[in-house]
Symmetry: C2
């Protein structure tokens, strides 16, 4: 199977397939061809077949894919039922917003939220009690979270990421502007850089105008 050779662009398309298949299932559709998926998703049918072949292929040629089974296969590939423990650091505006995510449907069990701000520590936000940083080490030793969601200021991330890795954390969902993968190249880091994304839109609008 050689899963380790699957490119990140294939992997990044899998959640999108999964979402579309959930929609199809919700609409009572039992079977879908790569051609139909292609029309709905904007990838070519051959791209879709190639993507699925990376994981051994699903379904029989000419019969289309059975929706529920394909959805289940992709869910298994993505590990969506694994309930890996995760923690969230920093319950500012963005951290709070992220607490509304259905982590359990995305492969995670959010088991702890942390902040340094004494005004929020001890309070309950969306069902999660905010713990102080001073509890972090003991908490990690006991609960063994594998993933940390970083919503703290960039200046604090270098120390905190060192600590978390030493406590056994293996992956980061990084919303800060600190570049964790420069410091820890071997750790899995998925960065979401909202400012960069916004600047990209600014560029596109700007260059449209320049070229008009």
């Amino acid at each position: 199977m050689g899963k380790e050779n699957i490119s990140m662009s294939v992997i990044r398309r899998m959640p999108r397939y999964y979402r579309y298949l959930c929609e199809l299932e919700n609409n009572g559709i039992m079977r879908v061809s790569s051609k139909e998926l292609s029309t709905r998703m904007g990838f070519t049918a051959s791209q879709i077949r190639q993507d699925f072949n990376c994981f051994g292929g699903f379904g029989q040629q000419g019969y289309g894919y059975p929706v529920s089974q394909l959805k289940q296969e992709i869910s298994d590939i993505l590990g969506l039922t694994s309930k890996r423990k995760a923690i969230l650091l920093g319950v500012g505006n963005l951290g709070r917003a992220l607490l509304s995510i259905s982590f359990d449907k995305m492969g995670f069990d959010l088991c702890g939220t942390f902040d340094v701000n004494s005004r929020v520590v001890g309070t309950e936000i969306k069902g999660y009690t905010v713990l102080p940083y001073s509890d972090l080490k003991e908490f990690c030793e006991r609960e063994k979270p594998e993933m940390a969601i970083i919503c703290i200021p960039a200046s604090a991330v270098s120390k905190v990421s060192d600590d978390l890795i030493s406590y056994g954390v293996k992956a980061f969902w990084n919303f800060s502007h600190y570049d964790i993968s420069m410091r820890h190249p071997d750790v899995c880091v998925e960065g979401v850089h909202l400012n960069d994304s916004l600047m990209t839109i600014s560029y596109m609008l700007n260059s449209d105008e320049v070229s008009e």
Copy 2:
């Protein structure tokens, strides 16, 4: 210069260069070589020179780049001082969190926020008064926003994006799971799909384990 031929991957690196140059400037550093930038950012020096050459190149060979000037050039390329009008639709958890962004530093002037929920319409959130959807058309005709931030449920996006485009909106920052670019292939859409991002982490942790 043929700016229209610059690849999206080059463009997506520009905000990151900009961020690093701001840091250097804040630290009082006046001049930086592509080699130094390379060590800090994890790109090769030749990649950096190539990226800058897409925009005509900055600085002289062997002398390094003057930090403030380079920062200013990239700011101009990204249009960060253009103050293009933007509106935000949907002030749920995520929408609220986004209201904390310094839009003015990223090329935008957030001039209106909208929601359908009568409990929030009319209230003020972080200095923005939430307007009802019924005002959207008139507001757009008057203010002419170019960009819309979409934080509303996927089921509502097809209608709302049609409306916004007819009111002159040219770009979307899309946080919903509705695929605006499938419906409007000619419009600039920058999607931020948090669930997809989270599923990607789940995949990476899962495949690590499988291959161990």
